[in-house]
Amino acid sequence: MPPSFNPNEKRGPGGPNAGRINAERPKDARNTLKKLIIYIGRSKYLFFGLLGIMITITLLGLAAPLVQQKAIDFIRIDENGVNVDFGGMGKALIVLAVVYVLSSVFTYMQAILSAKLSQSTVRIMRQDLFESLVRLPIKYLDNHNHGDIMSRMTNDVENISTTISQSIGSLISGVLTVIGSLVIMLVYSPLLTLISLSTIFLTVFVSGFLTKYMKKYFVEQQILLGRLNGHVEEMVTGYRTVVAYGKEHDAVEDFRKMSDDLKKTGIKAQIFGGVMGPCMNIISNIGFILIAAFGGWLAIRNVITIGTIQAFILYSKQFSRPINEIANQYANIQTAIAGAERIFDVMEADREEDKGTADFAVEKVRGDILFEDIDFSYVPQKPVLRGLELSVKAGQKIAIVGATGSGKTTVVNLLTRFYPIDSGRITIDGTDICDIPMDKLRSSIAIVLQDTVLFKDTIENNIRYGRADAAPEDIKKAAALANADEFIERLPEGYQTVLSEGGSNLSQGQRQLLSIARAVLADPKILILDEATSSVDTRTEMHIQSAMVSLMKNRTSLIIAHRLSTIRDADVIVVIDGGKVAESGSHESLLAKKGRYYELYRTQFAGSAT
């Protein structure tokens, strides 16, 4: 076994048997397996070629001991002492060498082909998974844990890859070896076969029994280790609070107790784990002694020959060796199928619906938006919008305000069709957005969100996200308009600076300026600013504010904000309350009205207790 195949290295703290013990069970194994086979089946020839090679290797593996025995048999002992037939032995050794060479050549081919099969299968699978992923509705992503989705792409796919390249091979060759050995043994002597089988039953029984105990302690060890690591995580990430409240000693005490428990269980687990090897060793040697003794007894009675005994000793070993392996691989395959099930779940999730066929020219959009009698809920029976009516004229700047949870952001989610409306309709320039092809609809809208989204790429390419065919000059111009050019030029590599993940090498304010530049470059008729400045401090905000003013020029803009400074300059302020527009008007007129806005204003902006 080459070193890279050592399963213990990857699995980490679980110990040598973790793989088997943590095996999960798929919900619908048969169906998933079918789909998985279709994937593997895309490389049909590869698969059947591989199968043929594996059968050949197994046959060669079964033949080798026979030939080896034959070579040794040319050493004859008779009354005249030892007599070696070197001619015959030489021939046998040449055959043996050929068997070995062939077996090595085929093993090499098997390794290459199975790597190819597994890699090309999982490449297609990854690709399909990703393509489904980018077409999933936002609703799916909002409702599923992101870490969980990520782990499907990484762990689950990786599991399938190792299973295809290793487990399936071991399983097939294991089963073939067992069957082959059994057949050869039966041909030699059914009686001795029976004796061999008895030790196999002993093996299965004892290992099953021991595994049960081992499992108990290994699982316990895993749980304790998880708890201990959880404590570490919590105390180290919350270290400031720990120190502020002088809880260091308590934390160490708790940790000491957990470490003690882990140690005790760890020792027990290890002792039980250490029993398995010697027990299996003893059983397999009992088998050897039984065959030797019983075979010897039969040989004395001339029922079988001595060569038969020797062959038997060899094959009974071959026979029992893969049994544990098969059990292990079976568990691995089950885990992989469970993973495949999770992957297919994502692939088969409903994709975004796009049935729009209306003739809609992005360049000719004016930007009149109309929300008519909109009902919407994220969770059934918990309506967020109830009969919302809203009209925005082309070129208007409108600010949407309301308490947390009032549905401000929902308006954005609906206009961009991130979520489908329950009832009612939204139109742009009179066309129902459901009739507009999705790509055209979204191309006519640009959004700037509170949480900036930047990619691990150059600044230039991040801005170019707004318009794929933009020339470098356009990008610079857009950045200048967004007040971003200045800081970009001050970076050592300017526009070619590669951002780290999430743009963490820039400040929050700079990141926001980049997303504004992106929107400037996209140059759509409709603009949405969703709490775009809420996570920067007020002085940075002034800077961004002026960038946004130039961005909003000549566009229909929807601004969602909780900062007064952002809202005040809007043409119309719309207050959403109870899923409807409660009131609308200019800042001054709404304050004078002393209604919902006035109330919000007092509590949110002026800070007087109500």
Binding site: I77, T237, V453
Partner: protein, 579 residues
């Protein structure tokens, strides 16, 4: 490097017994092929039933003895390695719990967590491996060679020819594979980061209709990952066949030499078979050892990382003085400068002096990066100033025992940190002996009671995943309850009310004033509206104190303050007249 193994010292007895038992197991194991050869040569071929049975029983007894030794070895090494890991773990954790923030910042929390979890587990496994597997395999290797040579010295020829080839092939392939593996890891990272970006940034991808672009980006990353994976696989594919062909040709050679020696009546058939068994064990030993070396060298990186933590001396050393009791609840900054060690000497705070009196209600205001948080972090000695001194109750904080100092200060951090346990457990961090009524009353003051009592299990509700199910404002209010329950002389709010709406915040401040009338309150805030009623407002700009006065006076005298004010509430006067 090896000083980490002093942790093994108390368990030396077990650590030595384990390999000793291993020797026993290996010896029993090594005798087995020999006994088998007796059974075959003299028993089966000589048709001697009694010999078969007596040797068989001998063999079984040896096996049982060997097995017992093996079990004992794994038991001893289990005791040694688990105890070693436990002591090491506790020591490292204790060390980490004594680090200053400057040091934890340098290590980063993520890295500290990895060191305490993954690294220690890796080291433990290697210690266990070394005690058992490494010893076992090297013994097998040496013992196997000895046994083979005792049968016939000519077998040595085979080993001399084959072993070097085996070792060279293995070492060269593994060496070549190293960089390939690194490449695979990097490309896997690339694939993951594209996925990550698309999962978290889905709204932007969709809004700009860039699904096809992203798919293309992914395809590129995916294909290069496959290519590197195949490169590794193809390289590794050659390893096993080459190794087994070397081994198998050695078997052929052993049979041939065995034949020659048998002809010369130097050796028996069973012995040839035994020699084949030894041969496979020797080769297996070599393979396992090379694997061991890989594992050990990988673990060495872990050892280094752990040693780094163990070798760090706490930067903030507690003083020994107690309080003299003359003053209570006062804080003074005397010409304080502060810079973070890695910021190339750029001062975060420079030459700042400020006196805060008992029971004062003072606010600290300034733009991001003006040094507000750094300033208050100096009070409980989370950091030490680079110049000047900080006095609490008239005593330099460096001279005070940090435990006593921090007992007098309650700090509510910018990021609320909650811990697993119930709501009540979390609040009780402020005072673990507090009665339930006191906990509730602290929560009432902190405006937390209102939502806690609405939770299904009230104060007994379990906080999971660091309070993921709570809103930012709720988490902040729980952290504040904690500080209120502590009843310290000084409470610091480090921008810890940012997620509260102003109405709630105003009620909170009113409650605090009533309940903690003698307590000094230091508040860092972004919004002027939340602090304009404070006794004084200290305004920071680029690490300097540019004003400290009441709201009204600052508006007249402080330019920076006026700027901030304008950006937040410009034109409010004309519109609402509230301010």
């Amino acid at each position: 490097m090896l000083k980490i193994f002093r942790y093994l010292k108390p368990y030396m007895l077990f650590a030595l017994l384990a390999p000793l038992c291993m020797v026993g197991e290996v010896m029993m194991d090594l005798f087995q092929p020999k006994l088998m050869s007796i059974i075959v040569d003299d028993g089966v071929l000589g048709q001697d039933m009694d010999l078969i049975i007596s040797t068989g029983i001998k063999m079984l007894l040896l096996l049982i003895a060997g097995g017992a030794c093996g079990i004992a070895a794994s038991g001893f090494s289990g005791v040694a390695s688990q105890s070693f890991a436990r002591d090491l773990r506790v020591d490292v954790f204790e060390k980490v719990m004594g680090l200053s923030f400057q040091q934890t910042d340098k290590f980063t929390t993520g890295s500290l967590v990895t060191r305490l979890t993954t690294d220690i587990t890796a080291i433990q496994q290697v210690v266990d491996f070394c005690m058992r597997m490494l010893i076992r395999d090297s013994l097998m290797f040496i013992g196997g060679i000895l046994m083979m040579l005792t049968m016939d010295l000519h077998f040595g020829l085979v080993l001399v020819a084959a072993l070097p080839i085996e070792i060279i092939v293995m070492v060269s392939v593994l060496r070549k594979a190293g960089p390939y593996f690194a490449q695979v890891a990097k490309r896997l990272d690339d694939v993951n980061s594209v996925v990550q970006e698309n999962v978290t940034g889905a709204r932007v991808v969709k809004a700009y209709v860039r699904e096809d672009h992203e798919t293309e980006r992914f395809t590129k990353a995916n294909v290069s990952l496959m290519e590197s994976n195949l490169k590794v696989a193809n390289l590794m594919a050659s390893l096993q066949p080459v190794l087994s062909i070397v081994m198998n040709f050695s078997v052929v050679a052993v049979i041939f030499i065995g034949g020659l020696q048998a002809q010369a009546a130097e050796i028996q058939i069973g012995e040839i078979m035994a020699a084949i068994t030894y041969l496979t064990r020797i080769f297996f030993g070599v393979m396992m050892m090379s694997m061991m070396f890989q594992t050990v060298s990988r673990a060495m990186a872990s050892v280094e990382r752990i040693n780094e933590v163990l070798g760090t001396e706490p930067a903030v050393v507690s003083g020994t003085a107690g309080f003299d009791g003359k003053q209570q609840g006062t804080v003074s900054f005397r010409n304080v400068s502060f810079s973070y060690p890695d910021s190339a000497g750029r001062p975060v705070i420079s030459g700042l002096s400020l006196d805060i009196g008992k029971g004062e209600n003072i606010a600290v205001l300034g733009a991001t990066g003006s040094g507000k948080s750094s300033l208050v972090n100096l009070i409980p000695r989370f950091y030490d100033p680079t110049e000047g001194e900080v006095l609490v109750d008239g005593v330099n904080v460096r001279d005070l025992s940090t435990e006593e100092l921090r007992e007098r200060i309650g700090i509510v951090l910018q990021k609320s940190e909650l811990f697993s346990g119930t709501v009540e457990d979390n609040i009780k961090w402020g005072d673990k002996d507090a009665a339930h009524e006191e906990v509730v009353s602290a929560a009432v003051t902190a405006q937390a009671d209102e939502f806690v009592s609405r939770m299904p299990d009230g104060y007994k509700s379990i906080i999971a995943e660091k309070g993921a199910s709570l809103s930012g404002g709720q988490k902040q209010r729980l952290s504040i309850s904690r500080a209120v329950l502590k009843k310290p002389e000084i409470i610091i709010f480090d921008d810890s009310t940012s997620a509260l709406d102003l109405g709630t915040e105003a009620r909170l401040r009113k409650g605090l004033r009533e309940k903690l009338s003698g307590t000094t309150l230091i508040t860092i805030a972004q919004r002027i509206a939340s602090v304009k009623d404070c006794d004084r407002i200290a305004v920071l700009d680029h690490g300097r104190l540019v004003g400290c006065d009441t709201h009204e006076n600052l508006l007249k005298t402080c330019e920076v303050y006026k700027d901030i004010y304008d950006s937040q509430v410009r034109s409010t006067d004309s519109a609402g007249g509230e301010l």
